[in-house]
Structures are given as C-alpha cells and as structure tokens.
Amino acid sequence: MLLLDLLLMLLIAYGFGFLYYGLYRNLSARVHGRFGPSLAQSFSDSIKLFVKEESTTFGWMFYLGPVIMASGAVLNVLFIPFLNQGESLQGLSSYGNLIVVLYLMVLGPLGNALGVGSSGNPFGVMGVTRGLTRLLALELPFYLAAIGVMIDAGSADFGIIMQAQSTQSNMFAHPLLFAAAFISFLGFMGKSPFDVVGAPQEVYSGPATEFSGKFLALLMSQSAMFSFAKLLLMVNLFWGGADHLGELVAKTFVLFVAATFIGSVYARFSTVQSVEFLIRIPTLLGIVGLALL
C-alpha cells in the first residue's frame, strides 16, 4: 500500500512538474506578447531527448551527477506530505521531518558538482561554483524562516506544523518570515534576479553545458520534480498545507505564477550581487521575524 502511495506521489510530482514547466513557458510567453508553445511541449522535449543518441563520454562519474540529482529530487518529493490530513499521499513523512528535507535539498547540487567537475568544461565548473556560492546565501534566510516556523509549531514534524496553522496560516502570522522564505524560494526556483547559475549570456548553460540526450532529459525531469517539491514545501510551511488535491493544485499554482511573473520582469544579478542581496535583505527580514516570535 505504501509503495502504491509513493508511486502515486512521484507520478503526481512528475506530471505537475512538467505541466508547471509548460505553464511557465506559456505564461512568460504571454508577458512577452506571444502565444508560446503548447502545454505538452516539455513532454515532447523529454521524450525526444530520451531517444536521442548519446555520443559523449567523460567516465562514469560524469553520469553519476544527474543520477544523484534525480535521486535527491525523488527523495525530496517522498519526504514531503502532499496533504495535511488523511492517510493517502503522506509518503515517508512519518519517518522524517523538515530537517531531513532541508538536508536533502542540498544533495542535488552537490551531486551535480560531482558530475560536472569530471567533464572538465570550464563553463560547467563555473556554473557549479556559482550554484554552490548562491546556495550558501539562499539557505541562510530559508533556514531562518524554517527555524521560525519550527519554533512556532514546537516541532519539526510536517503534520504538527500544518496543524498549528489551522486557524491562521504562517504567511499572515509571521509575514517577515514568509518574505524571507519567499525571496530565497525565488532563488531556489532559479528565477530572475537569482538565475545566475545557468546564465546563457555568461556561461552557456552552466552545469548542463556538457549534458545531452538522456542525461539532459534526466536533468529536466529532476528539475521539474524538484520545483514541485519546493512549491509543496512552501505551501506546507506557510499556507497550512492542503485538505485535498484540488486545494493543493490551487495553492501551488498561485505560488508558481507569482514566482514566474516576478522572474520575467527583473534583470539578473551577478553572483556577488545576488549573494550580497540575499545576505542582506531576506536574512535581515528573517532575523527580525525570529526576534518578533
């Protein structure tokens, strides 16, 4: 039964991850004033990439990178409960808590560093360096916000955190913590102005520069699932989770649209600027928010 539940969770995360990626392309196309691709475009892309010939080899370490990233995303999805009550779609959340999830979020980028480093491509290495630098700055405000939420609920368990918000969601109870978490969430999603990792005008595709075919498809799938996991995490921590699947979709969708729109109207910060910005503004918000608890 648990196995079926886990499979269902993965399927939902995969499906909605790709759907949201398609929506992202469509919505930003609308901001640009054009129609954009069809919603199923990302599915076509990933199927095409899976059947593409693979001709590059850099040794097995190189291939391990995307695999570790994908497993990080899968574990992340499994450890975050989709719904705030009931038996189904809870996954492994009874075996872990928020701290485990925060730890698992770092696994992906580290695995990527491992793989890309062995390709020897300077742009890939540069992208990974940028990614890790930014990650350090992103985590500080996000951890502050997460600690605040945990102190407020008195537990690191997702169920208890969501129960604590049954009267008032954390977004309104602790707006400063939400602001801190939201800004670093934008960074985690790779949205402008914090999209310095894969900036095409600077480092080609960054970490993905050398990946093609199946491994690029794997990277695409993992990033789709991972962004769904991040949406879930934000919904659970600050919007009190969801009672049923419809509410979950509605809440993640609103959050996702907000991130997309903000991403399409701001210029990209350079590495130093984004670290500086993240250390200064959201961290300050987080500290003040913690102090007000």
């Binding site: 919505l27 196309a29 609308r30 901001v31 640009h32 004033g33 054009r34 129609f35 729109f261 903000i262 399409s264 109207v265 701001y266």
Partner: protein
C-alpha cells in the same frame, strides 16, 4: 546607490501585457498580407521580353544567365534567349528590373521558398504580364 522602492516595483506594471491578446503573426496558418512593391521572385512577360541581356550585364552577382528557349514568344526577341535567375546568387536589388528596356522583367511579392536540394534554386521566371 540609493534604494528606490518605486524603481523596484514599477517593472511589475509590465505584467499588464498578459491581459492583451498576443501580437504574434502565426505564419504557416495565417499568411501576412502581401505588400505591393515588395521585392520577391522574378516574373518575366515573354510577350515583351526582347532578350537584350541588359539584366545579365548589370547583375553584379552574375546570377542571371541568358538561356535559349524553344519557341520564341516575342517576334522582336532577336537573341532568342530569356533570363534565368540563380537564387543562390541573387540579392534582390532589382537593378535588373530597373535597366529592362521594355519593362518585361519584374519582381512579384511572393518571396518564400525552402528546399533541401541546392540545385533547385535555378529559377525560370514565371510568364506573368505585369
């Protein structure tokens, strides 16, 4: 640099674009209207072409060859040749139509052609009166 809240929030006004209908021209389904006088493919009115080869002479790309035709449609065509254009060379400058004495060589507004064989770009202008 001093931080200005207005400059940070003003860009969000760009999002009003999503309420407008997209401005895209969906080409394969919807063709844009042809512009009169656009410099596209050549047309040649064979009933007035005199085969003078002025177009061949003025073409700096040597894209125009005078080729013999089987039956001469214009009795005044002394050379018995009409121009054929190599679209692998042509730059659509329309100098050839400027120097044409009887004004038989013209450009039509049709200009789209894609092909997978390079040899197919030798073009025999359509016989259209202008």
């Amino acid at each position: 640099m001093k931080f200005e809240l207005k400059n940070s929030l003003a860009p969000l006004s760009a999002l009003s674009k999503i309420f407008e209908h997209p401005q895209t021209l969906c080409y394969p389904e919807v063709k844009s209207e042809t512009v009169s006088g656009y410099r596209g493919f050549h047309i040649n009115d064979l009933s007035t072409c005199i085969g003078c080869a002025n177009c061949q002479d003025v073409c700096m790309n040597e894209a125009i060859d005078m080729i013999a035709i089987d039956k001469d449609k214009n009795p005044k065509n002394n050379s018995g040749c009409i121009p054929r254009i190599d679209y692998g060379r042509c730059c659509w400058c329309s100098l050839c139509t400027d120097v044409c004495p009887p004004d038989s060589l013209k450009l039509e507004s049709e200009c789209i052609w894609a092909d997978d064989d390079a040899n197919r770009f030798l073009y025999q202008p359509k016989d259209k009166p202008c």
